[in-house]
Amino acid sequence: MEPVRDVHATLVDLLDRILDKGLVINADVIISVAGIPLIGVNLRAALAGMETMLKYGVMQAWDEKTRAWERERREIGEVPLLEGEEVNFKIFGSYYYSKGIYTAWRSGYIYLTTKRLLLWNREFDDVVFQIDLEKIKAILINQEDLLTKEKKDVLYIVDQDNRVSRLLSTKIDRLKEGIEQSLKAMGLSLEENPVLPAFEKGPISFLMEGEKVTNRGKVWHLPDGGGILGNTWKPGYLYLTNKRLCWWYGFEGRLAFQIPIEEISAAIKERRDLSPVLKDKKVLDVIYNANGTRAVSSFSGKEIEIDEWEKVLNRVIVKGNEAEEKEREACPQCGYSAPVKELLEIGCSKCGWVSARLKRKLVKTPAK
């Protein structure tokens, strides 16, 4: 790409430079009209062929923020430590960042300090990941197939909410040792062989940010439409989280079934013959909404567990129904939360917003 220098094509660029830039002379021998631009703003716009001036819109605010950011980053140098915090170990590595649409391994320096384990990216001065040492429940190294088709050792940090963070580094075992020693020295203990192997490998990859498991168990699953085509009950693990009901099929190493909890409409217990051999077993039929139609997935397992699942799921369903009744929405203008009915029929009591339709109605029947 060649730089453009044509006078006609670059008049605006020239104006920006000649009118706003150049060496600043701090001498009182200059003739100046203090503060008043010598070429009026409108005239300048006309010169550049623009009809209007800079529009104050979304880009303006961002603009100032960005310039402030640029100014700030020139002064950055060091990892932000807390008061009294010291670094015990430092190693280059990356963290699997999966918030929203931006998912990637973000690299930086991993610091094991007297208080935390964190990953700091110097370029953006961003603490990409951090966890208080006391909140670490367990750590383990697991081999994963990464994008490049290589097998890499990944360090899993399990916190007290059973959420897992993944870290990569060339000297991963040294990091693990370091963490173990630090925790030992602090008098904290780690769980040996944390939870079930399947649990680790499963949710580790499918749990989303902010998602917590509220119920789990070993459960057999018969998908919608199964049974008719033959016995396709499969063994696996069922998880209820604050967002979804999902079932992990260990044999294929993936989530074979998942639905958002809002889509569950019923959970019904029944006794059925699962196969010519498995007679009179307790089954839980979960009825849900899939793409606008009703579907059923069945689960089976230990009786007590099925009973428990029925209770748990029904609790979730009831909560969902209650929520719908009193469905609230945020006012599009001020964000104030109010019942949908109220917003549409009366308007927002906080900022006075009314829907366009309501406005038209009001215009037609003016107040007396």
Partner: protein, 254 residues
């Protein structure tokens, strides 16, 4: 009547030479040396050049730039001044002596600045995006936005209206996030190929294009080829457009 001096730039040069009548209003441009530095000037009345006539102003601007570039070619490195920098005469000294005194007082600083700028030029880099294309891409890739888009289809008219508002707000917010991300990414990329960067205000652009970043970069002409290649890569990406201008005299780095 013409006791003041219109100042174009400062250069590394010790001779008193003339460039002929290339200045504003066809005035004769010449140098006022002090030691090994010199000021490039023309004689003018002690008042700024102002006008309502935009064609006149345009000719002044173009003339100013032409003089700076001529001096640049002649002397190798220049410290350009902005338009309408005029040094006056007063009781103590005439304008010429005022200029010499100023150069004398600021000598070290001026030398250093000229050193820094040796063999370098300023280049403008602007990156734009097509908000429609980007918005569409977000609706496809952002889970929250995509879901909301879908949900709207199944809602009653009243609810759908409010959801649409919500969707617009969400989209606008996410576009800002995206634009910030692009800015940071490109800034880091471009930084590698230049000696210095100044972040400028973005400007309003024509329909269909929105300026994401406006940079002034200082680098040598050789390096500008490599920069050009990097910018080509960004320009080739869908929905993105790069404007690369220069070489300029280093107004932004003086």
């Amino acid at each position: 009547m013409t006791e003041a001096r219109y100042l174009y730039c400062i250069a590394n040069g010790s001779e008193q030479i003339t460039f002929g009548n290339i200045g504003i209003e066809n005035n004769e441009v010449y140098t006022i040396p002090y030691k090994d530095l010199c000021a490039v000037v023309h004689n003018c009345p002690p008042e700024p050049y102002e006008s309502e006539d935009k064609e006149k102003i345009k000719s002044w601007i173009v003339a100013h730039e032409k003089v700076v570039e001529t001096a640049w070619t002649r002397f190798g490195t220049v410290l350009p001044l902005g338009f309408d920098t005029i040094i006056k005469s007063d009781q103590d000294r005439n304008a010429e002596d005022n200029i010499k005194k100023w150069i004398k007082d600021d000598y070290e600083n001026l030398k250093q600045k000229l050193d820094k700028l040796r063999d370098k030029a300023e280049f403008g880099v602007q990156v734009f995006w097509n908000p429609k294309i980007m918005g569409k891409r977000l609706t496809e890739t952002n889970e929250e936005i995509a879901k909301l888009s879908q949900d709207i289809k199944s809602k009653s008219r009243g609810l759908a209206y409010m959801y649409k508002q919500k969707l617009e707000n969400l989209l606008k917010k996410q576009m800002e996030v995206e634009s910030e991300r692009y800015f940071k990414d490109f800034y880091e990329q471009i930084k590698r190929w230049v000696d210095e960067i100044k972040v400028e205000k973005t400007k309003k652009s024509d329909e269909g294009k929105q300026m994401l970043m406006n940079l002034s970069c200082l680098l040598s002409k050789e390096k500008s080829k490599v920069l050009g290649e990097e910018l080509e890569k960004i320009n080739n990406r869908e929905g993105l457009f790069v404007r690369f201008t220069g070489p300029w005299p280093p107004y932004s780095f003086a």
